[in-house]
Protein backbone atom coordinates (compact mmCIF):
# COMPACT_ATOMS: atom_id res chain seq x y z
CA UNK A 1 0.00 0.00 0.00
CA UNK A 2 1.24 3.47 -0.82
CA UNK A 3 1.81 6.28 1.61
CA UNK A 4 -1.28 8.37 2.31
CA UNK A 5 0.55 11.49 1.18
CA UNK A 6 1.11 9.99 -2.25
CA UNK A 7 -2.58 9.16 -2.48
CA UNK A 8 -3.53 12.65 -1.42
CA UNK A 9 -1.40 14.07 -4.22
CA UNK A 10 -3.03 11.66 -6.61
CA UNK A 11 -6.52 12.77 -5.56
CA UNK A 12 -5.54 16.41 -6.00
CA UNK A 13 -4.13 15.61 -9.43
CA UNK A 14 -7.44 13.99 -10.40
CA UNK A 15 -9.26 17.06 -9.12
CA UNK A 16 -7.09 19.42 -11.12
CA UNK A 17 -7.28 17.27 -14.24
CA UNK A 18 -11.03 16.88 -14.16
CA UNK A 19 -11.70 20.51 -13.48
CA UNK A 20 -9.24 21.90 -15.99
CA UNK A 21 -10.98 20.37 -18.97
CA UNK A 22 -14.47 20.28 -20.36
CA UNK A 23 -13.64 17.87 -23.11
CA UNK A 24 -15.83 14.80 -22.54
CA UNK A 25 -13.23 12.42 -23.95
CA UNK A 26 -10.64 13.44 -21.38
CA UNK A 27 -13.23 13.44 -18.59
CA UNK A 28 -14.33 9.92 -19.45
CA UNK A 29 -10.69 8.87 -19.49
CA UNK A 30 -10.26 10.26 -15.97
CA UNK A 31 -13.39 8.42 -14.84
CA UNK A 32 -12.09 5.13 -16.22
CA UNK A 33 -8.70 5.65 -14.59
CA UNK A 34 -10.28 6.34 -11.22
CA UNK A 35 -12.37 3.19 -11.50
CA UNK A 36 -9.35 1.11 -12.52
CA UNK A 37 -7.22 2.43 -9.66
CA UNK A 38 -10.02 1.71 -7.25
CA UNK A 39 -10.42 -1.85 -8.48
CA UNK A 40 -6.70 -2.45 -8.34
CA UNK A 41 -5.94 -0.88 -5.00
CA UNK A 42 -8.89 -1.32 -2.67
CA UNK A 43 -7.33 -3.30 0.17
CA UNK A 44 -8.72 -6.73 0.70
CA UNK A 45 -9.24 -6.79 4.42
CA UNK A 46 -8.94 -10.00 6.28
CA UNK A 47 -12.32 -9.80 7.99
CA UNK A 48 -11.28 -6.81 10.04
CA UNK A 49 -14.83 -5.67 10.05
CA UNK A 50 -17.77 -6.76 8.02
CA UNK A 51 -19.08 -3.28 7.51
CA UNK A 52 -15.83 -2.13 5.99
CA UNK A 53 -15.78 -5.07 3.64
CA UNK A 54 -19.35 -4.35 2.68
CA UNK A 55 -18.58 -0.72 2.02
CA UNK A 56 -15.59 -1.69 -0.07
CA UNK A 57 -17.82 -3.90 -2.17
CA UNK A 58 -20.25 -1.06 -2.60
CA UNK A 59 -17.44 1.23 -3.68
CA UNK A 60 -17.87 1.22 -7.39
CA UNK A 61 -21.61 1.68 -7.46
CA UNK A 62 -21.32 4.76 -5.24
CA UNK A 63 -19.56 6.73 -7.93
CA UNK A 64 -21.96 5.34 -10.50
CA UNK A 65 -24.94 6.19 -8.36
CA UNK A 66 -23.66 9.71 -8.01
CA UNK A 67 -23.24 9.95 -11.75
CA UNK A 68 -26.69 8.54 -12.37
CA UNK A 69 -28.13 11.47 -10.45
CA UNK A 70 -25.68 14.20 -11.38
CA UNK A 71 -25.57 13.71 -15.14
CA UNK A 72 -29.34 13.74 -15.86
CA UNK A 73 -29.90 16.58 -13.39
CA UNK A 74 -27.22 18.75 -14.97
CA UNK A 75 -28.47 17.87 -18.46
CA UNK A 76 -32.03 18.84 -17.72
CA UNK A 77 -31.09 21.98 -15.85
CA UNK A 78 -28.68 23.30 -18.42
CA UNK A 79 -30.96 22.29 -21.26
CA UNK A 80 -33.92 24.15 -19.81
CA UNK A 81 -32.17 27.33 -18.78
CA UNK A 82 -29.53 27.96 -21.43
CA UNK A 83 -31.00 28.78 -24.79
CA UNK A 84 -27.93 28.69 -26.98
CA UNK A 85 -27.05 26.49 -29.85
CA UNK A 86 -28.42 25.80 -33.27
CA UNK A 87 -30.00 22.37 -33.05
CA UNK A 88 -33.39 23.18 -31.52
CA UNK A 89 -35.10 20.15 -30.02
CA UNK A 90 -38.34 21.88 -29.05
CA UNK A 91 -39.54 25.22 -27.80
CA UNK A 92 -41.05 26.20 -24.50
CA UNK A 93 -43.54 29.08 -24.49
CA UNK A 94 -41.73 32.38 -24.12
CA UNK A 95 -43.86 33.65 -21.20
CA UNK A 96 -42.23 31.17 -18.83
CA UNK A 97 -39.60 33.07 -16.86
CA UNK A 98 -36.11 31.69 -17.41
CA UNK A 99 -37.32 28.41 -18.93
CA UNK A 100 -39.07 29.89 -21.95
CA UNK A 101 -37.29 29.66 -25.30
CA UNK A 102 -35.69 27.05 -27.49
CA UNK A 103 -34.31 23.92 -25.86
CA UNK A 104 -31.20 22.95 -27.77
CA UNK A 105 -29.21 19.78 -28.12
CA UNK A 106 -25.99 21.71 -27.46
CA UNK A 107 -27.14 22.99 -24.10
CA UNK A 108 -28.20 19.50 -23.05
CA UNK A 109 -24.84 18.09 -24.11
CA UNK A 110 -23.02 20.79 -22.24
CA UNK A 111 -25.05 20.02 -19.11
CA UNK A 112 -24.19 16.34 -19.45
CA UNK A 113 -20.49 17.20 -19.70
CA UNK A 114 -20.77 19.24 -16.52
CA UNK A 115 -22.38 16.30 -14.77
CA UNK A 116 -19.63 14.00 -16.01
CA UNK A 117 -16.94 16.35 -14.72
CA UNK A 118 -18.53 16.41 -11.32
CA UNK A 119 -18.77 12.61 -11.35
CA UNK A 120 -15.09 12.32 -12.24
CA UNK A 121 -14.11 14.51 -9.29
CA UNK A 122 -16.38 12.57 -7.01
CA UNK A 123 -15.03 9.21 -8.12
CA UNK A 124 -11.45 10.39 -7.70
CA UNK A 125 -12.08 11.29 -4.10
CA UNK A 126 -14.16 8.23 -3.35
CA UNK A 127 -11.26 6.13 -4.61
CA UNK A 128 -8.93 8.09 -2.39
CA UNK A 129 -11.18 7.44 0.59
CA UNK A 130 -11.32 3.73 -0.16
CA UNK A 131 -7.65 3.10 -0.59
CA UNK A 132 -6.38 5.02 2.42
CA UNK A 133 -7.33 3.90 5.93
CA UNK A 134 -8.81 6.64 8.13
CA UNK A 135 -5.93 6.23 10.57
CA UNK A 136 -3.40 7.18 7.94
CA UNK A 137 -5.44 10.20 7.04
CA UNK A 138 -5.46 11.37 10.65
CA UNK A 139 -1.70 11.14 10.62
CA UNK A 140 -1.67 13.60 7.76
CA UNK A 141 -2.87 16.41 10.02
CA UNK A 142 -0.15 19.03 10.16
CA UNK A 143 1.76 19.22 13.39
CA UNK A 144 0.36 22.63 14.22
CA UNK A 145 -3.02 20.95 14.46
CA UNK A 146 -1.77 18.54 17.03
CA UNK A 147 -4.87 18.97 19.17
CA UNK A 148 -7.11 18.60 16.16
CA UNK A 149 -5.42 15.31 15.36
CA UNK A 150 -5.97 14.15 18.93
CA UNK A 151 -9.65 15.08 18.74
CA UNK A 152 -10.03 13.18 15.49
CA UNK A 153 -8.26 10.11 16.85
CA UNK A 154 -10.47 10.14 19.93
CA UNK A 155 -13.54 10.44 17.75
CA UNK A 156 -12.47 7.59 15.48
CA UNK A 157 -11.63 5.41 18.48
CA UNK A 158 -14.90 6.11 20.22
CA UNK A 159 -17.16 5.44 17.27
CA UNK A 160 -17.03 1.63 17.60
CA UNK A 161 -17.42 1.91 21.37
CA UNK A 162 -20.40 4.18 20.96
CA UNK A 163 -21.93 1.81 18.45
CA UNK A 164 -21.53 -1.00 20.91
CA UNK A 165 -23.04 0.93 23.77
CA UNK A 166 -25.87 2.02 21.50
CA UNK A 167 -26.79 -1.59 20.83
CA UNK A 168 -26.37 -2.43 24.51
CA UNK A 169 -28.76 0.35 25.50
CA UNK A 170 -31.22 -0.74 22.87
CA UNK A 171 -31.13 -4.27 24.20
CA UNK A 172 -31.58 -3.10 27.77
CA UNK A 173 -34.56 -0.98 26.79
CA UNK A 174 -36.00 -3.81 24.70
CA UNK A 175 -35.85 -6.10 27.71
CA UNK A 176 -37.91 -3.54 29.56
CA UNK A 177 -40.53 -3.68 26.85
CA UNK A 178 -39.47 -0.62 24.91
CA UNK A 179 -39.88 -0.78 21.19
CA UNK A 180 -38.68 1.59 18.53
CA UNK A 181 -41.58 2.57 16.33
CA UNK A 182 -40.99 6.16 15.46
CA UNK A 183 -38.62 9.03 15.98
CA UNK A 184 -40.07 9.73 19.42
CA UNK A 185 -38.97 6.35 20.76
CA UNK A 186 -35.33 7.26 20.28
CA UNK A 187 -35.32 9.57 23.29
CA UNK A 188 -34.97 6.80 25.94
CA UNK A 189 -32.08 5.43 23.89
CA UNK A 190 -30.40 8.70 23.11
CA UNK A 191 -30.29 10.16 26.61
CA UNK A 192 -28.44 7.23 28.24
CA UNK A 193 -26.07 7.18 25.28
CA UNK A 194 -25.33 10.88 25.68
CA UNK A 195 -24.84 10.70 29.42
CA UNK A 196 -22.65 7.62 29.35
CA UNK A 197 -20.61 9.24 26.59
CA UNK A 198 -20.12 12.39 28.65
CA UNK A 199 -19.11 10.34 31.67
CA UNK A 200 -16.57 8.59 29.52
CA UNK A 201 -15.25 11.92 28.27
CA UNK A 202 -14.74 13.04 31.88
CA UNK A 203 -12.81 9.89 32.64
CA UNK A 204 -10.76 10.26 29.51
CA UNK A 205 -9.92 13.88 30.30
CA UNK A 206 -8.76 12.93 33.77
CA UNK A 207 -6.66 10.13 32.38
CA UNK A 208 -5.11 12.51 29.87
CA UNK A 209 -4.29 15.07 32.54
CA UNK A 210 -2.86 12.34 34.73
CA UNK A 211 -0.55 11.38 31.90
CA UNK A 212 0.62 14.92 31.53
CA UNK A 213 -1.45 16.07 28.56
CA UNK A 214 -1.34 19.82 28.21
CA UNK A 215 1.19 20.19 30.97
CA UNK A 216 3.59 22.18 28.83
CA UNK A 217 1.69 23.19 25.77
CA UNK A 218 -0.54 25.77 27.41
CA UNK A 219 1.24 28.77 25.98
CA UNK A 220 -1.16 30.81 23.95
CA UNK A 221 0.41 32.03 20.75
CA UNK A 222 1.88 35.47 20.66
CA UNK A 223 0.15 38.65 19.73
CA UNK A 224 2.48 38.99 16.78
CA UNK A 225 1.47 35.62 15.36
CA UNK A 226 -2.16 36.56 15.76
CA UNK A 227 -1.63 39.86 13.96
CA UNK A 228 0.23 38.09 11.17
CA UNK A 229 -2.65 35.66 10.81
CA UNK A 230 -5.07 38.55 10.40
CA UNK A 231 -2.70 40.12 7.88
CA UNK A 232 -2.52 36.89 5.89
CA UNK A 233 -6.30 36.67 5.70
CA UNK A 234 -6.50 40.30 4.66
CA UNK A 235 -3.99 39.70 1.86
CA UNK A 236 -6.01 36.71 0.68
CA UNK A 237 -9.25 38.63 0.67
CA UNK A 238 -7.89 41.73 -1.06
CA UNK A 239 -5.98 39.67 -3.59
CA UNK A 240 -9.06 37.70 -4.45
CA UNK A 241 -11.18 40.82 -4.77
CA UNK A 242 -8.59 42.32 -7.07
CA UNK A 243 -8.46 39.28 -9.35
CA UNK A 244 -12.24 39.13 -9.51
CA UNK A 245 -13.13 42.73 -10.13
CA UNK A 246 -10.09 44.67 -11.29
CA UNK A 247 -8.64 43.04 -14.39
CA UNK A 248 -5.73 45.49 -14.55
CA UNK A 249 -4.66 44.51 -11.01
CA UNK A 250 -4.89 40.82 -11.73
CA UNK A 251 -1.20 40.05 -11.30
CA UNK A 252 -0.98 42.05 -8.07
CA UNK A 253 -4.06 40.22 -6.82
CA UNK A 254 -2.56 36.82 -7.53
CA UNK A 255 0.59 37.95 -5.76
CA UNK A 256 -1.48 39.03 -2.78
CA UNK A 257 -3.23 35.68 -2.60
CA UNK A 258 0.07 33.81 -2.78
CA UNK A 259 1.55 36.06 -0.09
CA UNK A 260 -1.46 35.50 2.16
CA UNK A 261 -1.37 31.74 1.68
CA UNK A 262 2.37 31.76 2.32
CA UNK A 263 1.93 33.78 5.50
CA UNK A 264 -0.71 31.42 6.88
CA UNK A 265 1.36 28.39 5.86
CA UNK A 266 4.44 29.87 7.52
CA UNK A 267 2.55 30.47 10.73
CA UNK A 268 1.35 26.88 10.66
CA UNK A 269 4.89 25.66 10.19
CA UNK A 270 6.10 27.90 12.99
CA UNK A 271 3.38 26.64 15.32
CA UNK A 272 4.15 23.05 14.33
CA UNK A 273 7.81 23.36 15.21
CA UNK A 274 7.01 23.90 18.87
CA UNK A 275 5.15 20.60 19.08
CA UNK A 276 7.38 17.69 19.90
CA UNK A 277 6.11 14.73 18.01
CA UNK A 278 7.16 11.12 17.89
CA UNK A 279 5.76 8.36 15.76
CA UNK A 280 5.44 4.79 16.85
CA UNK A 281 5.58 3.20 13.47
CA UNK A 282 6.97 5.32 10.69
CA UNK A 283 5.94 4.82 7.13
CA UNK A 284 8.81 5.19 4.79
CA UNK A 285 8.71 7.12 1.58
CA UNK A 286 10.03 4.61 -0.92
CA UNK A 287 10.76 4.61 -4.62
CA UNK A 288 7.21 3.43 -5.23
CA UNK A 289 5.76 6.59 -3.76
CA UNK A 290 8.16 8.69 -5.78
CA UNK A 291 7.11 6.83 -8.91
CA UNK A 292 3.44 7.46 -8.19
CA UNK A 293 4.06 11.14 -7.59
CA UNK A 294 6.10 11.31 -10.77
CA UNK A 295 3.15 9.91 -12.73
CA UNK A 296 0.85 12.58 -11.32
CA UNK A 297 3.45 15.24 -12.02
CA UNK A 298 3.63 14.17 -15.68
CA UNK A 299 -0.14 14.55 -15.98
CA UNK A 300 -0.15 17.96 -14.38
CA UNK A 301 2.77 19.13 -16.49
CA UNK A 302 1.05 18.09 -19.69
CA UNK A 303 -2.18 19.81 -18.65
CA UNK A 304 -0.87 22.99 -17.14
CA UNK A 305 2.55 23.79 -18.54
CA UNK A 306 2.76 25.21 -22.06
CA UNK A 307 4.56 22.27 -23.65
CA UNK A 308 5.17 22.48 -27.39
CA UNK A 309 3.90 18.96 -28.16
CA UNK A 310 0.51 19.06 -26.51
CA UNK A 311 -2.36 20.91 -28.10
CA UNK A 312 -3.90 22.50 -25.04
CA UNK A 313 -6.71 24.05 -27.06
CA UNK A 314 -8.37 20.63 -27.09
CA UNK A 315 -9.01 21.02 -23.36
CA UNK A 316 -11.52 23.79 -23.94
CA UNK A 317 -14.11 21.92 -25.94
CA UNK A 318 -17.35 23.77 -26.27
CA UNK A 319 -20.48 22.38 -27.96
CA UNK A 320 -21.76 25.87 -28.78
CA UNK A 321 -22.90 27.07 -31.20
CA UNK A 322 -23.02 23.86 -33.17
CA UNK A 323 -22.38 20.36 -31.86
CA UNK A 324 -19.20 18.77 -33.21
CA UNK A 325 -17.10 15.81 -32.22
CA UNK A 326 -14.72 16.78 -29.44
CA UNK A 327 -11.08 16.92 -30.52
CA UNK A 328 -8.63 14.49 -28.97
CA UNK A 329 -4.92 15.11 -28.64
CA UNK A 330 -2.99 11.84 -28.09
CA UNK A 331 -0.22 13.61 -26.18
CA UNK A 332 -2.68 14.93 -23.61
CA UNK A 333 -4.40 11.57 -23.50
CA UNK A 334 -1.07 9.89 -22.74
CA UNK A 335 -0.36 12.53 -20.14
CA UNK A 336 -3.64 11.81 -18.37
CA UNK A 337 -2.68 8.13 -18.30
CA UNK A 338 0.02 9.21 -15.83
CA UNK A 339 -2.71 9.05 -13.22
CA UNK A 340 -2.67 5.27 -13.59
CA UNK A 341 0.90 4.99 -12.29
CA UNK A 342 -0.07 4.80 -8.60
CA UNK A 343 -2.07 1.64 -9.31
CA UNK A 344 0.96 -0.01 -10.91
CA UNK A 345 3.24 1.23 -8.15
CA UNK A 346 0.94 -0.11 -5.48
CA UNK A 347 0.65 -3.45 -7.26
CA UNK A 348 4.37 -3.85 -7.51
CA UNK A 349 4.81 -4.61 -3.84
CA UNK A 350 1.88 -7.00 -3.56
CA UNK A 351 3.75 -10.27 -2.77
CA UNK A 352 5.44 -8.86 0.31
CA UNK A 353 3.26 -9.69 3.34
CA UNK A 354 2.52 -6.52 5.27
CA UNK A 355 2.53 -6.66 9.10
Amino acid sequence: MLDARAWLLWALAVLVTASSTRNPLYVVLVLLIAAAVELACTPRRRAVSHRRAASARRALPSAFRFGAVAVPLATVFNGLTVHFGETVLFRLPAWLPLLGGPVTLEACVYGAINGLTLTAIFSGFSTFNRVTPARDLVRLTPRAFHEAGVVLSIALTFVPQMTRSLSRIREAQAVRGHRVRGLRDWLPIFVPLLISGLERALGLAEAMVARGYGAISDQAHSLRAQALLALGLLALLLGWLATLFLPQWRMAGIGGMIAGAGLIGGLLWQAGRSVAHTTYRTRRWTARESLAVLGCAVTLAVLLAPLPLADRETLYYSPYPHLALPPFDPVIGLGILGLLVPALAAKAEEPQPDD
Binding site: V16, S19, S20, R22, F77, N78, V82, F84, L98, L99, Y110, F125, S126, N129, L137, A144, F145, E147, A148, V150, V151, L152, I154, A155, L156, T157, V159, M162, L166, G182, W186, F190, V191, L193, L194, I195, G197, L198, A201, L204, A205, M208, V209, G214, Q219, A225, Q226, L229, A230, L233, L236, W240, L241, L244, F245, G260, I264, L268, A271, Y320
Partner: protein, 267 residues
Protein backbone atom coordinates in the same frame (compact mmCIF):
# COMPACT_ATOMS: atom_id res chain seq x y z
CA UNK B 1 -6.00 44.16 21.76
CA UNK B 2 -6.07 40.41 21.47
CA UNK B 3 -9.84 40.46 21.32
CA UNK B 4 -9.87 43.08 18.60
CA UNK B 5 -7.47 41.10 16.43
CA UNK B 6 -9.39 37.90 16.90
CA UNK B 7 -12.57 39.77 16.02
CA UNK B 8 -10.83 40.95 12.86
CA UNK B 9 -9.84 37.37 12.06
CA UNK B 10 -13.44 36.21 12.42
CA UNK B 11 -14.70 39.02 10.23
CA UNK B 12 -12.09 38.44 7.52
CA UNK B 13 -12.70 34.72 7.34
CA UNK B 14 -16.44 35.28 7.27
CA UNK B 15 -15.90 37.78 4.47
CA UNK B 16 -13.96 35.21 2.47
CA UNK B 17 -16.77 32.73 3.03
CA UNK B 18 -19.42 35.21 1.99
CA UNK B 19 -17.41 36.20 -1.07
CA UNK B 20 -17.08 32.54 -2.00
CA UNK B 21 -20.85 32.40 -1.72
CA UNK B 22 -21.66 35.40 -3.89
CA UNK B 23 -18.77 35.59 -6.32
CA UNK B 24 -20.30 33.39 -9.05
CA UNK B 25 -23.08 35.93 -9.41
CA UNK B 26 -20.73 38.86 -9.81
CA UNK B 27 -18.28 36.91 -11.88
CA UNK B 28 -21.01 35.99 -14.35
CA UNK B 29 -21.92 39.60 -14.73
CA UNK B 30 -18.44 41.06 -15.06
CA UNK B 31 -16.41 38.48 -16.94
CA UNK B 32 -15.53 38.76 -20.54
CA UNK B 33 -16.34 35.76 -22.68
CA UNK B 34 -12.78 35.19 -23.86
CA UNK B 35 -11.54 34.67 -20.31
CA UNK B 36 -12.64 31.07 -20.58
CA UNK B 37 -9.20 29.63 -19.97
CA UNK B 38 -9.14 30.97 -16.46
CA UNK B 39 -12.72 30.56 -15.37
CA UNK B 40 -12.35 26.82 -15.22
CA UNK B 41 -10.06 26.84 -12.25
CA UNK B 42 -12.29 29.24 -10.33
CA UNK B 43 -13.96 26.48 -8.25
CA UNK B 44 -10.53 25.18 -7.29
CA UNK B 45 -9.35 28.57 -6.14
CA UNK B 46 -12.52 29.10 -4.19
CA UNK B 47 -12.19 25.76 -2.43
CA UNK B 48 -8.56 26.52 -1.59
CA UNK B 49 -9.43 29.95 -0.22
CA UNK B 50 -12.28 28.66 1.89
CA UNK B 51 -9.97 25.90 3.13
CA UNK B 52 -7.33 28.46 4.08
CA UNK B 53 -9.83 30.53 6.00
CA UNK B 54 -11.02 27.44 7.88
CA UNK B 55 -7.37 26.73 8.72
CA UNK B 56 -6.84 30.30 9.90
CA UNK B 57 -9.89 30.14 12.13
CA UNK B 58 -8.75 26.81 13.55
CA UNK B 59 -5.31 28.23 14.30
CA UNK B 60 -6.89 31.20 15.99
CA UNK B 61 -9.24 29.07 18.07
CA UNK B 62 -6.59 26.54 18.91
CA UNK B 63 -4.03 29.17 19.85
CA UNK B 64 -5.71 29.66 23.14
CA UNK B 65 -4.57 26.34 24.58
CA UNK B 66 -7.26 23.71 24.41
CA UNK B 67 -7.49 21.88 27.69
CA UNK B 68 -7.58 18.12 27.96
CA UNK B 69 -11.21 18.37 28.99
CA UNK B 70 -12.21 20.20 25.84
CA UNK B 71 -10.28 17.77 23.69
CA UNK B 72 -11.89 14.74 25.32
CA UNK B 73 -15.35 16.27 25.26
CA UNK B 74 -15.03 17.26 21.63
CA UNK B 75 -13.80 13.83 20.62
CA UNK B 76 -16.60 12.02 22.38
CA UNK B 77 -19.32 14.35 21.14
CA UNK B 78 -18.06 14.05 17.58
CA UNK B 79 -18.09 10.27 17.91
CA UNK B 80 -21.59 10.39 19.35
CA UNK B 81 -22.82 12.51 16.50
CA UNK B 82 -21.34 10.14 13.97
CA UNK B 83 -23.12 7.26 15.68
CA UNK B 84 -26.35 9.24 15.59
CA UNK B 85 -26.36 8.59 11.90
CA UNK B 86 -27.86 5.24 12.75
CA UNK B 87 -31.13 7.04 13.26
CA UNK B 88 -30.79 7.99 9.65
CA UNK B 89 -30.72 4.36 8.59
CA UNK B 90 -33.20 3.10 11.18
CA UNK B 91 -35.89 5.65 10.43
CA UNK B 92 -35.88 6.43 6.75
CA UNK B 93 -36.05 10.15 6.26
CA UNK B 94 -36.48 11.83 2.92
CA UNK B 95 -34.09 14.21 1.29
CA UNK B 96 -31.09 15.90 2.78
CA UNK B 97 -32.00 15.16 6.35
CA UNK B 98 -29.00 14.39 8.45
CA UNK B 99 -29.02 14.16 12.24
CA UNK B 100 -25.62 15.76 12.65
CA UNK B 101 -26.80 19.36 12.71
CA UNK B 102 -28.95 19.25 15.81
CA UNK B 103 -26.06 18.12 18.07
CA UNK B 104 -23.75 20.74 16.59
CA UNK B 105 -26.25 23.48 17.29
CA UNK B 106 -27.06 22.20 20.77
CA UNK B 107 -23.41 21.80 21.73
CA UNK B 108 -22.58 25.26 20.44
CA UNK B 109 -25.53 26.62 22.35
CA UNK B 110 -24.45 25.16 25.66
CA UNK B 111 -20.65 25.28 25.44
CA UNK B 112 -20.23 28.58 23.62
CA UNK B 113 -19.33 29.71 20.16
CA UNK B 114 -15.71 28.58 20.15
CA UNK B 115 -16.65 25.04 21.08
CA UNK B 116 -19.50 25.18 18.57
CA UNK B 117 -17.17 26.07 15.73
CA UNK B 118 -14.74 23.30 16.60
CA UNK B 119 -17.60 20.85 17.00
CA UNK B 120 -19.01 21.75 13.60
CA UNK B 121 -15.74 21.46 11.71
CA UNK B 122 -14.59 18.29 13.43
CA UNK B 123 -17.94 16.56 13.09
CA UNK B 124 -17.93 17.08 9.36
CA UNK B 125 -14.28 16.08 9.09
CA UNK B 126 -14.72 12.93 11.16
CA UNK B 127 -17.84 11.82 9.39
CA UNK B 128 -16.12 12.42 6.07
CA UNK B 129 -13.33 10.15 7.27
CA UNK B 130 -15.70 7.49 8.52
CA UNK B 131 -18.15 7.43 5.66
CA UNK B 132 -15.54 8.19 3.02
CA UNK B 133 -17.23 11.34 1.82
CA UNK B 134 -14.26 13.66 1.70
CA UNK B 135 -13.60 15.81 -1.32
CA UNK B 136 -13.02 19.33 -2.46
CA UNK B 137 -16.42 20.27 -1.04
CA UNK B 138 -15.23 19.42 2.47
CA UNK B 139 -13.86 22.92 3.26
CA UNK B 140 -17.28 24.37 2.46
CA UNK B 141 -18.99 21.83 4.66
CA UNK B 142 -16.61 22.37 7.54
CA UNK B 143 -16.83 26.11 7.19
CA UNK B 144 -20.62 26.17 7.10
CA UNK B 145 -21.15 23.69 9.90
CA UNK B 146 -18.55 25.53 11.97
CA UNK B 147 -20.41 28.78 11.55
CA UNK B 148 -23.66 27.07 12.46
CA UNK B 149 -22.10 25.99 15.75
CA UNK B 150 -20.47 29.34 16.31
CA UNK B 151 -23.63 31.35 15.80
CA UNK B 152 -25.47 28.93 18.08
CA UNK B 153 -23.08 30.05 20.79
CA UNK B 154 -24.10 33.65 20.21
CA UNK B 155 -27.71 32.61 20.50
CA UNK B 156 -27.14 31.65 24.12
CA UNK B 157 -26.25 35.23 25.02
CA UNK B 158 -29.63 36.38 23.82
CA UNK B 159 -31.77 33.76 25.47
CA UNK B 160 -29.92 33.88 28.76
CA UNK B 161 -31.52 37.20 29.55
CA UNK B 162 -35.04 35.92 29.29
CA UNK B 163 -36.80 35.29 32.55
CA UNK B 164 -39.71 33.08 33.40
CA UNK B 165 -40.39 31.22 30.19
CA UNK B 166 -36.76 30.58 29.50
CA UNK B 167 -37.03 26.93 28.65
CA UNK B 168 -39.78 27.34 26.11
CA UNK B 169 -38.21 30.44 24.60
CA UNK B 170 -34.98 28.51 24.33
CA UNK B 171 -36.68 25.68 22.55
CA UNK B 172 -38.54 27.88 20.10
CA UNK B 173 -35.41 29.88 19.29
CA UNK B 174 -33.35 26.76 18.79
CA UNK B 175 -35.98 25.29 16.51
CA UNK B 176 -36.14 28.41 14.38
CA UNK B 177 -32.38 28.47 14.31
CA UNK B 178 -32.15 24.84 13.23
CA UNK B 179 -34.68 25.46 10.49
CA UNK B 180 -32.81 28.48 9.18
CA UNK B 181 -29.45 26.71 9.16
CA UNK B 182 -30.98 23.67 7.49
CA UNK B 183 -31.88 25.82 4.49
CA UNK B 184 -28.79 28.00 4.65
CA UNK B 185 -26.45 25.03 4.73
CA UNK B 186 -27.94 23.67 1.54
CA UNK B 187 -27.79 27.05 -0.17
CA UNK B 188 -24.14 27.49 0.74
CA UNK B 189 -23.03 23.99 -0.20
CA UNK B 190 -24.82 24.33 -3.51
CA UNK B 191 -22.53 27.15 -4.45
CA UNK B 192 -19.80 24.60 -4.75
CA UNK B 193 -21.76 22.75 -7.39
CA UNK B 194 -23.18 25.83 -9.02
CA UNK B 195 -20.26 26.57 -11.35
CA UNK B 196 -20.48 23.00 -12.61
CA UNK B 197 -24.21 22.93 -13.05
CA UNK B 198 -24.38 26.27 -14.75
CA UNK B 199 -21.08 25.97 -16.51
CA UNK B 200 -18.22 28.40 -16.16
CA UNK B 201 -19.31 31.93 -16.64
CA UNK B 202 -18.00 32.33 -20.13
CA UNK B 203 -19.62 29.30 -21.68
CA UNK B 204 -23.12 29.73 -20.39
CA UNK B 205 -22.58 33.36 -20.95
CA UNK B 206 -25.45 35.39 -22.21
CA UNK B 207 -24.79 38.86 -23.57
CA UNK B 208 -25.96 41.36 -21.01
CA UNK B 209 -26.73 38.82 -18.35
CA UNK B 210 -26.91 41.05 -15.29
CA UNK B 211 -26.44 40.35 -11.65
CA UNK B 212 -30.16 40.07 -11.01
CA UNK B 213 -30.69 37.65 -13.79
CA UNK B 214 -27.87 35.48 -12.51
CA UNK B 215 -29.40 35.58 -9.08
CA UNK B 216 -32.69 34.60 -10.65
CA UNK B 217 -30.94 31.70 -12.32
CA UNK B 218 -29.48 30.60 -9.04
CA UNK B 219 -32.93 30.89 -7.52
CA UNK B 220 -34.33 28.62 -10.20
CA UNK B 221 -31.43 26.24 -9.84
CA UNK B 222 -31.99 26.16 -6.11
CA UNK B 223 -35.74 25.70 -6.35
CA UNK B 224 -35.44 22.95 -8.95
CA UNK B 225 -32.62 20.97 -7.47
CA UNK B 226 -32.56 21.47 -3.77
CA UNK B 227 -35.41 23.28 -2.11
CA UNK B 228 -37.29 20.07 -1.36
CA UNK B 229 -34.10 18.37 -0.30
CA UNK B 230 -33.11 21.18 2.03
CA UNK B 231 -36.61 21.54 3.37
CA UNK B 232 -36.37 17.95 4.58
CA UNK B 233 -33.15 18.86 6.37
CA UNK B 234 -34.66 21.96 7.95
CA UNK B 235 -37.78 20.14 9.13
CA UNK B 236 -35.67 17.24 10.35
CA UNK B 237 -33.55 19.62 12.40
CA UNK B 238 -36.65 21.08 13.99
CA UNK B 239 -38.01 17.62 14.77
CA UNK B 240 -34.74 16.48 16.32
CA UNK B 241 -34.33 19.64 18.37
CA UNK B 242 -37.94 19.43 19.57
CA UNK B 243 -37.43 15.81 20.50
CA UNK B 244 -33.92 15.72 21.89
CA UNK B 245 -33.31 19.38 22.62
CA UNK B 246 -34.58 19.86 26.17
CA UNK B 247 -33.03 16.65 27.48
CA UNK B 248 -29.73 17.30 25.72
CA UNK B 249 -29.46 20.88 26.88
CA UNK B 250 -30.16 19.81 30.44
CA UNK B 251 -27.56 17.03 30.35
CA UNK B 252 -24.92 19.18 28.67
CA UNK B 253 -25.47 22.05 31.10
CA UNK B 254 -25.05 19.72 34.04
CA UNK B 255 -21.85 18.35 32.58
CA UNK B 256 -20.58 21.80 31.74
CA UNK B 257 -20.54 22.58 35.42
CA UNK B 258 -18.69 19.38 36.15
CA UNK B 259 -16.26 19.78 33.28
CA UNK B 260 -15.09 23.26 33.91
CA UNK B 261 -14.68 22.78 37.59
CA UNK B 262 -11.05 23.57 38.37
CA UNK B 263 -8.93 23.34 41.43
CA UNK B 264 -6.43 26.15 41.66
CA UNK B 265 -3.68 25.13 44.02
CA UNK B 266 -1.74 27.78 45.86
CA UNK B 267 1.36 28.56 43.95
Amino acid sequence: MRRIISGIIYILSAAIGVLAFVYPFFADASRQPQASAHTQDAPLITAALVGLSVIALLVELQGRAISAKTVALLGVLVALTSVLRFIETAVPMPGGFSPIFAPIILAGYVFGSRFGFLMGTFTLLASALITGGGGPWLPYQMFTAGWAGMTAGWLARITHHTGRFRESIELVTLCAFGFAWGLLYGAIINVYFWPFAAGPAAQAWTPGLGLWETLGRYGAFYAVTSLGWDMARAVGNVALILLLGPATVRALTRFRRRFYFEVQPDA
